[in-house]
């Protein structure tokens, strides 16, 4: 069954005709063409399809697109300012927090939610590790990802953040 929906992705409203049972992952990849949102396990275990919904990380493979019409969806494309990388993304490239890059956009969204909302002064490595526990990475052993997020927190503390 087809239906009309309005989706807000990265502050742009998309008027779409979708299958009623289409997942947010399918709609983002195939209709709004946000291909940074990657498809892997399709059962909410790997985190490669992580996007933010009203600021919170969610697995877009587990969410029906029709159910998120009133919500703000955000992908890595929405973190960019034109061609300029967000300080968090810059931290990932500086610390080589990515290798094959497949888990990276989802990882970055989880990391963004963490750092963006972290009000306290100290962000421990275990805080970081717990926040990205739902994002599996097979290349990096997570070491440089943790370093990247630590660096991003420092950037935020220095006022370099949006």
């Amino acid at each position: 069954m087809k239906m009309q929906v309005q989706l807000n992705v990265n502050d742009t409203t998309h008027q779409l005709e979708i299958d009623a049972n289409a997942t947010l992952l399918e709609v983002l990849r195939n209709l709004t063409r946000h291909q940074s949102v990657h498809r892997s396990c399709e059962e909410g275990e790997c985190g490669a399809c992580t996007v933010l919904m009203d600021g919170q990380p969610v697995n877009s493979c587990l969410i029906l697109a029709a159910s998120v019409q009133g919500n703000r969806i955000m992908t890595v494309e929405g973190l960019m300012k034109g061609d300029t990388l967000h300080p968090l993304m810059k931290a990932f490239t500086d610390e080589l927090g990515l290798q094959c890059g497949f888990c990276t956009p989802g990882m970055v969204m989880s990391a963004y939610a963490l750092v963006n909302q972290w009000e306290e002064e100290v962000l421990s490595d275990m805080d970081i590790r717990k926040a990205i526990e739902g994002n599996l990475c097979r290349c990096t052993g997570y070491v440089n990802i943790v370093k990247s997020i630590r660096r991003a927190k420092a950037a935020k503390d220095a006022g370099n953040w949006w």
């Binding site: 990657h38 892997s40 490239t93 080589l96 275990m126 097979r138 290349c139 052993g141 440089n144």
Partner: protein, 787 residues
């Protein structure tokens, strides 16, 4: 030019799933629900009747339109068993493993293809399953291949040095067994590709997660019966590979589907299928004796390693090939008198075996490192003492090991000593004793390893073939081609660094081209990136540099020896004020004035273009027959705490000291180390492919096949030594596999050390909580009985 990392983090990756062509159809495979069964009937009528379905391919189509899969390795030689099966990409009459594809549905969109796939009707007659290698080798075991005598695919026998002499003079002999569970490398991205058959030109082009496009072209062309020149394979961004994307097989079916439907056809594999029908590894059982003297001197080994290869269906010998390094890795980095090693590979009703980081080297080293730790314990030595006593010493390189490998360079004692210092083992040993009094079990594992890298062996597709090209374009940008695909291991950055260092050009003016089948080579496997392709690229750049110097000397009217190239500028040291950019130089050489402005000799030699294509082959292999060129070194020390009530292992400290020769880029090397170590930890503690007695795989998702998350992964302390390899162009050594080799062994060693009060031998992996708990319960029972 924008760096690859910047492009990927901005969400601009182009992975297989991102490929989109006008008029593209989608392919979905239908898998067998049984581990072993006859196909009694197969009907595609209902699937074909679904609107939007274009075709359904079956084993019949494979027989009608393709050749059997081509042989990739063939070591039939006197005294050795080496059997191959004559099979197609999909079977016609019999399935041999759970998930084996029996049909492929092609439809206008993926959802339609999935729905139609459920309507393919197959009637099976279930056959008895051969569940593991030891069972498979029993005389009454059901055979997988009717024309084979039995289920033994391979039996290799090696005599290294003087094994009989070693055992004759030994004070002691220890019997050792060691088992490893079946695992998969499992990158987060599964396999995928698009095939586009051009019916006018009768040619085929494919894009996808191809780790080795050149070999894939050969194998796909052979399967489809096409001339190779009409096939082109392109690697796109690859979401991790670790060896699992070397081997094209389902891709052959996608190619045929495009040919038969005259449409671009896309296949993106569901992750579950990647686990069920992807390459598997490990699953070996070692049994043997190690001979040594009372002072800890190592003398000899007699051992047999039996591999559960799964089916021999899809990669025609490449699985069995990994038995060679498993056997040959046993000597590791020590002096020995002699060894007799036998490698057996049995076929069973499981998914096929292929490459995964380690490729057998890990198995031989894990076996011998486990043995060394047990011998040390028996002799009252520390694990480091027995190693330091037996190491090949720095002055002995190049060292001809008893297995005919030529070890290039290294400082084995220096590497281990550095790790001991960093890990503060004395502190943790004291801690261990203290904790024991509180009923807590701390263990310290020590392991050291070499990593044979850059394979070149005869009678197979892994012969040491590689090609590279470096070209300066008319605008002065520089393009680099090679066979080394970027699978996340830093090929692109490494090659750009090598070339910019040699040519003095700017990194941002270099584009490392995506790899296609146009350039000959095995691609990145066997950690050969820093050995073969990097050497070929460096060699091409050095040859190109000579041409640049000649051209520049001509245009600047200066002697060649005065030419300097740095930071993108070319000038004569005699007149540094007159500088040429690469763009200016190239434009002069090509167009204004063009070749007529170059030296006569250069033109006579047909050597006038700023473009070099060359090849590289190991300098040691021709005369010594050494299968590998570089041997990096690592020492791993892990401190763990084992909770004997739950069986859970917690990693308290992890230290890794590495010597990969000259480091091209430290960040990349560190990244490889971290990633490999955590994969090894997964293998040691939690990863296991479990089949039930009917041959069905039970662990088919991330919730049952447990790879480490960020919480389980430890912090890792890394340090480097840099002992250059004399045999590669850059002094670098292959290093992608050493971290997994060391880490899986050291975690198990640390657990064994923690459980030493119970005299538990940790010789099976993964050492999962339930298994550790079982060992403890059994040990308690033994202790009770003894009292």
């Amino acid at each position: 030019m924008e760096s690859r990392e910047t492009r990927l983090i901005a969400g601009k990756g182009q992975y297989a799933d991102d490929l989109d062509f006008p008029g593209m159809a989608h392919l979905v495979f239908v898998g067998s629900p049984y581990g072993h069964a006859k196909i009694v009937s197969l009907s595609v009528e209902k699937a074909l009747a679904v609107p939007g379905v274009l075709a359904v391919l079956t084993g019949e189509d494979m027989v009608a339109h393709t050749n059997p899969l081509p042989v990739q390795a063939n070591f039939k030689s006197p005294g050795w068993t080496w059997r191959l099966a004559d099979v197609y990409a999909m079977p016609r009459d019999k399935v041999r493993w759970y998930g084996e594809p029996v049909a492929a549905v092609v439809a206008e969109d993926e959802i339609t293809a999935r729905r139609a796939a459920e309507l393919v009707e197959v009637a099976y007659k279930v056959l008895e399953v051969t569940g593991n290698a030891l069972e498979a080798l029993e005389p009454e075991s059901p055979k997988l291949y009717d024309d084979w005598e039995d289920n033994k695919q391979v039996h290799l026998k090696f005599d290294f040095g003087d094994p009989e002499g070693a055992f004759a003079e030994a004070d002691q002999v220890m019997h050792i067994t060691n088992r490893e569970g079946r695992v998969t490398g499992l990158p987060i991205e599964a396999r995928g590709c698009v095939a586009q058959y051009d019916t006018k030109m009768d040619s085929l082009e494919m894009w996808g997660s191809f780790q080795t496009p050149y070999l894939s072209r050969h194998n796909i062309a052979a399967t489809l019966g096409m001339p190779e020149v009409k096939v082109r394979i392109n690697a796109v961004d690859i979401g991790g590979a670790f060896g699992l994307k070397i081997h094209a097989w389902k891709e052959n079916v996608v190619a045929l589907a495009s040919k038969l439907t005259a449409r671009p056809v896309k296949w993106f594999e569901p992750l579950k299928d990647f686990i069920v029908t992807g390459p598997h590894q490990r699953d070996v059982f070692w049994e043997g004796d190690v001979a040594f003297n009372n002072d800890g001197t190592l003398l000899g080994v007699k051992a047999t390693v039996t591999h559960d290869l799964g089916v021999e269906s899809t990669n025609k010998g490449i699985a069995a090939l990994s038995i060679f390094p498993a056997c040959s890795a046993v000597p590791n980095m020590y002096h020995w008198k002699g060894m007799h090693i036998e490698g057996i590979g049995a076929v069973t009703n499981k998914s096929f075996y292929c490459a995964y980081r380690g490729y057998g080297k890990d198995k031989g080293i894990k076996f011998i490192e486990h043995a060394l730790n047990r011998i040390a314990r028996k002799l009252g030595m520390t694990p480091e003492a027995i190693r330091l006593k037996n190491y090949i010493q720095p002055h002995e390189f190049p060292y001809h090991q008893i297995n005919s490998y030529v070890y290039d360079s290294g400082d084995y004692p220096g590497t281990l000593n550095k790790a001991l210092e960093m890990a503060d083992v004395d502190h943790y040993r004291a801690e261990k004793e203290k904790c024991l009094e509180e009923g807590r079990y701390i263990g310290i594992g020590v392991v050291s390893a070499i990593e044979p890298a850059g394979v070149a062996v005869p009678n197979c597709q892994m012969g040491g073939i590689t090609q590279a090209r470096v070209q300066i374009t008319a605008d002065g940008t520089i393009e680099i081609h090679s066979d080394r695909t970027e699978i996340g291991q830093g090929s692109e950055v490494s090659h750009a660094i090598i070339v910019s260092d040699i040519l003095g050009c700017k990194r941002e003016d270099i584009l490392v081209k995506r790899v296609t089948s146009d350039y000959i080579g095995q691609g990145p496997l066997s950690s050969r990136g820093a050995v073969y392709p990097a050497s070929a690229v460096a060699k091409a750049a050095k040859m190109l540099k000579k041409k640049v110097v000649t051209c520049a000397a001509t245009f600047l009217k200066a002697p060649e020896e005065s030419i300097v190239m740095e930071d993108g500028m070319i000038f004569s040291i005699d007149h540094p004020e007159e500088k040429l950019t690469y763009g200016q130089l190239s434009e002069k050489a090509l167009f204004f004035p063009g070749p007529r402005g170059l030296p006569v000799e250069m033109l006579k030699n047909h050597d006038h273009l700023l473009d070099v294509t060359t090849t590289w082959y190991s300098p040691t292999t021709p005369e010594s027959g050494s299968s590998y060129t570089s041997f990096c070194t690592s020492a791993d020390i892990a401190v763990v705490e084992v909770d004997i009530e739950t069986g859970a292992t917690k990693i308290i400290k992890y230290v890794h000291v590495h010597d990969a020769g000259t480091i091209i880029n430290k960040q990349i090397v560190d990244g490889q180390i971290h990633g490999g170590i955590v994969q090894g930890i997964g293998e040691a503690l939690s990863e296991r492919l479990d089949y039930d007695t009917d041959g069905r795989l039970l662990t088919t998702s991330f919730s049952t096949y447990l790879i480490p998350t960020a919480v389980e992964a430890p912090d890792i302390e890394v340090a480097h030594l840099e002992t250059p390899s004399p045999f590669t162009e850059t002094g670098s050594k292959g290093m992608g596999e050493a971290p997994i080799i060391g880490s899986k062994a050291v975690i198990l060693a640390a657990i064994e050390d923690a459980l030493s009060p119970y005299d538990i031998v940790v010789n099976d992996s993964p050492a999962s909580p339930e298994r550790v708990r079982k060992w403890v319960v059994e040990a308690l029972k033994r202790q009770e009985e003894a009292q």
